[in-house]
């Protein structure tokens, strides 16, 4: 059973149809790269997965369970949406770290707030918070930031901020980790360190959806690639199929620019 199934997602902003019948599925441990020119709907797709936009039509299933159904959208409560959201993690293009918290606090904040609803929170508060802290330190170490945990975001480089953001998303142990052009705001040198972290996540079989403009990276890291144009999936398949042997004229035209 695929961990993620997206079925005929549609989304319009006013009269502009941004997503026209998008459907795909993703197996556990696989990484999917979504490529395409700006305005092709890649980011909107990602935002739909993370409930930042509400699709006008279609369904989203995680582990076979429906987490979004446009036909039953009214019956979804705020709390349910929040619950379903936790299946997904999202790393933003411009990091969006919380500026008033240190790197470590950025990683622990959401977990600490979620832990409050645990039944034994009051009794074992200290142990729970300690555990969250230890895990966050481990995550920051795994993205190479063990010596930067107590720094505030403005004291970190863009690449370091983005690695904190990755650790923050990982802390909630999402089923699917999404990246929205994670290196577009970084210079080439810093891009490398962030891509390195994503690469190592792929090697550890993290399920990921990566919207990116880094073709070489998409080819090396992903298990499958989707090429989008004008709100549609034009072509999908293995990196070899889509990037090395594209079938559609539109895909060829897009790739010829790299």
């Amino acid at each position: 059973m695929p961990v993620l199934e997206v079925q005929s997602i549609k989304k319009s902003f006013g009269a502009v149809e941004v997503l026209k019948n998008i459907g795909f599925s993703l197996e556990k441990g696989q990484s999917l790269a979504v490529i395409g020119s700006s305005g092709s709907g890649k980011t909107t797709l990602l935002r739909c997965l993370n409930f930042l936009e509400r699709p006008d039509g279609g369904r989203i299933l995680v582990n076979g369970k429906t987490v979004f159904d446009a036909a039953a959208v009214k019956s979804q409560s705020e709390a349910q949406i929040r619950q379903n959201r936790l299946h997904f993690g999202l790393v933003f293009q411009n990091f969006n770290l919380f500026p008033q918290y240190t790197a470590l606090q950025n990683v622990t904040l959401a977990q600490e707030l979620l832990a409050r609803s645990q039944p034994d929170y009051q009794r074992s508060k200290k142990a729970i918070l300690e555990e969250i802290r230890t895990r966050a330190q481990g995550l920051l170490a795994s993205v190479g930031l063990s010596n930067r945990m107590d720094n505030y975001p403005h004291q970190l480089s863009g690449g370091q901020q983005q690695r904190v953001a990755i650790a923050r998303a990982l802390a909630l142990q999402p089923d699917i980790l999404c990246f929205d052009e994670p290196t577009s705001a970084l210079d080439p040198e810093l891009t490398g360190e962030v891509l390195g972290v994503i690469r190592s996540l792929a090697e550890r079989d993290t399920t990921m959806v990566i919207v990116t403009h880094e073709m070489a990276f998409a080819r090396d890291v992903s298990d499958c690639i989707i090429f989008m144009d004008d709100g549609r999936i034009v072509e999908q398949g293995t990196p070899d199929q889509v990037i090395n042997h594209p079938q559609m004229e539109r895909t060829k035209a897009f790739l010829s620019r790299f």
Binding site: R82, F98, A169
Partner: protein, 220 residues
Amino acid sequence: MNAATVIFQRLSESFWLNCKLFGLTLLFSVPLGFVVAFGSMSRFKPLAWLTRTFVWAIRGTPLMLQVIIIYFAPGLLFEMTPWGSGSSGRLVACTIAFVINYACYFSEIYRGGIEAVPRGQYEAGKVLGLTKSQIFFRVTLLQLVKGILPPMGNEIITLIKDTALARIISNKEIIMMAQEYASKGLIWPLFSTAIYFLVFVGGLTLLFGWIEKKMDYFRV
């Protein structure tokens, strides 16, 4: 005791009323401003429209007039006397007018501050599963407080000077007290009231400088 000491004592006593009005106004208008701000930003259009019209009316008319209306209108129009008698009633009426007026000004500052917090901050909070109130209190509030400190400092400095308007309904604040001396031909007490305001504002300036420094550890 010489005459000057007595005069300064009486001026100080009357300045206490300015301070009370200042403190009470801040106490209520700072939180009420948030209510007004959220009202004017409401996605429920009639509420947003109603709130913005109210803010326009309050900001568009003199505070002095509002004090007079709040104090006299219930009695003249409805034959009600909600303010109680004597000086305490006059202070209550005056405080209410000030609270409403300042809440409206604060609400516009808050609205600017809230809108200045990048949308990405809300979205980051959302994807991390935070509730709306957690996002407000744990993510955006401190950033917005940092952003609105300078304009808030300005308004609060204006507030202490506006308290002199309380005299319009015979609240015996410092300038009214000093004018009583002036009408008897003694002019220096009136001039010396400036000292009280200057010292007060000096303290406020230091306080705001200190708070801004305290929040210097992060950049929005």
